[in-house]
Symmetry: C2
Subunit: 80 residues, 2 copies
Amino acid sequence: MKAKVHITLKAGVLDPQGKAIGRALSSLGFAGVGEVRQGKVIELELAETDRAKAEASLRAMCEKLLANTVIENYAIELRP
Amino acid sequence: MKAKVHITLKAGVLDPQGKAIGRALSSLGFAGVGEVRQGKVIELELAETDRAKAEASLRAMCEKLLANTVIENYAIELRP
C-alpha cells in the first residue's frame, strides 16, 4: 500500500521559508503573488494491506516522528 | 486563486532525507515500511483569476525558482 503524508504548518505559525519564496518570486518579477507557505510531503510504501491498520500505523508515525504536532498539521492519503 | 505546487525528486535520484526517515521509523519499531521519499509542497495565493494564465505563470515560477528541474519533478494543482 502506498501512502502520502502531507505536513503543513498550522495557521498562524510563522513560515520564514514561505516568506523567502514569496520575496524571491517578487524580485524575479512575478506580480500578484499573495501568501506563500511551504510544507512537506512524505511518500511511503507500506507492507500492510489492511486500510484501517495502515492508517492507524501512519497516524502513530506522524505523532511520534513525522510531524511536530505543536506547530504542524498532517493529512494522510492512502492508495492500494 | 489558490495553487499548490508539489515538488518531488525524480525517480532514481538519491533521497537521503527519505532514507533517514525510513531508518528512524524502523528504529522506532514501525515494521513493514519500504521506500520513503520526501518532497515539498508550496501553497501560493495568486491574484490572477484566469486559470490558463495562472497555470502558465506557475509553470514559469517552477522552472525559474521553485523546482530544480534537473533532479525534481513538479505538479501544479489549482483551485479557484
